[in-house]
């Protein structure tokens, strides 16, 4: 079945440093979504990418979808303490309603 892996599993950064998490799928995806889960909370939708090579920005967050639609990345510039949490990517195979979640990257910030 479809597998979605994320690296790294954990990332500790000093406040103000940049952070990147990478998402890799074993199959070609029709779209990729990104979610953020604060400690003790539930996943919250951040963004969706659909087109090959697509890049989208949300303030300090930059999301990319690979040309082959099998990988994606999330980059945070100048991290803040509010960025703490686990970031998940999630993707659909073509024609499949089931969203497969990645393994997640847990970000902690050192003040």
């Amino acid at each position: 079945g479809q597998q979605v892996m994320q690296i790294p599993q954990y990332q500790h950064v000093q406040e103000g440093e940049d952070f990147t998490t990478y998402c890799n799928s074993s199959t070609t995806l029709s779209n990729i979504q990104w979610y953020k889960q604060r400690p003790g909370g539930h996943p919250v939708f951040l963004i969706q990418l659909v087109k090959s090579g697509e890049v989208k920005k949300q303030k300090r967050l930059t999301f990319q979808f690979g040309e082959a639609k099998k990988n994606s990345s999330l980059h945070i510039t100048a991290t803040q303490t509010t960025d703490v949490g686990t970031y998940f990517c999630a993707g659909n195979n073509f024609g499949n309603e089931k969203l497969t979640f990645g393994t997640g990257t847990r970000l902690t910030i050192i003040p």
Binding site: Q33, Y35, F88, K98
Partner: protein
């Protein structure tokens, strides 16, 4: 709008007991999902539904049952609880199955001892 509401928030079960986790949404979404999240891990799909009267298995359906008699409600039934079912359970809904964001409930933390 309340969004997706899950009850209870916490529950402790003894091995072999049964319970139903409730999930209701007020967004008139067709698609609903049940995920489980083990400590420090990702989310695994248990069951999902594309509309009232239609359900299908996800990755980890064993030990669980669901029903979808209305658009709003999607309860998850645990029969003969086992320690391996200790987890946080999230219900989610989406307007359509593809290219549509998931809206999650706050989760139910279940411990089976």
């Amino acid at each position: 709008n309340a969004g997706v509401t899950q009850t209870p928030k916490f529950r402790i079960l003894k091995i072999g007991q049964s319970m139903t986790l409730q999930c209701t949404q007020d967004m008139n979404h067709n698609y609903m999902y049940w995920y489980r999240q083990d400590p420090g891990m990702g989310l695994k799909l248990i069951y999902y539904s594309v509309g009232a009267g239609i359900t299908d298995k996800g990755e980890v359906p064993n030990g669980y049952n669901v029903s979808r008699s209305t658009t709003e409600d999607f309860p998850l039934r645990l029969e003969l609880a086992a320690p391996s079912q200790t987890s946080v359970y999230f219900c989610a809904s989406s307007r359509t199955g593809l290219n549509s964001p998931l809206h999650f409930g706050n989760g139910t933390r279940l411990t089976v001892t």
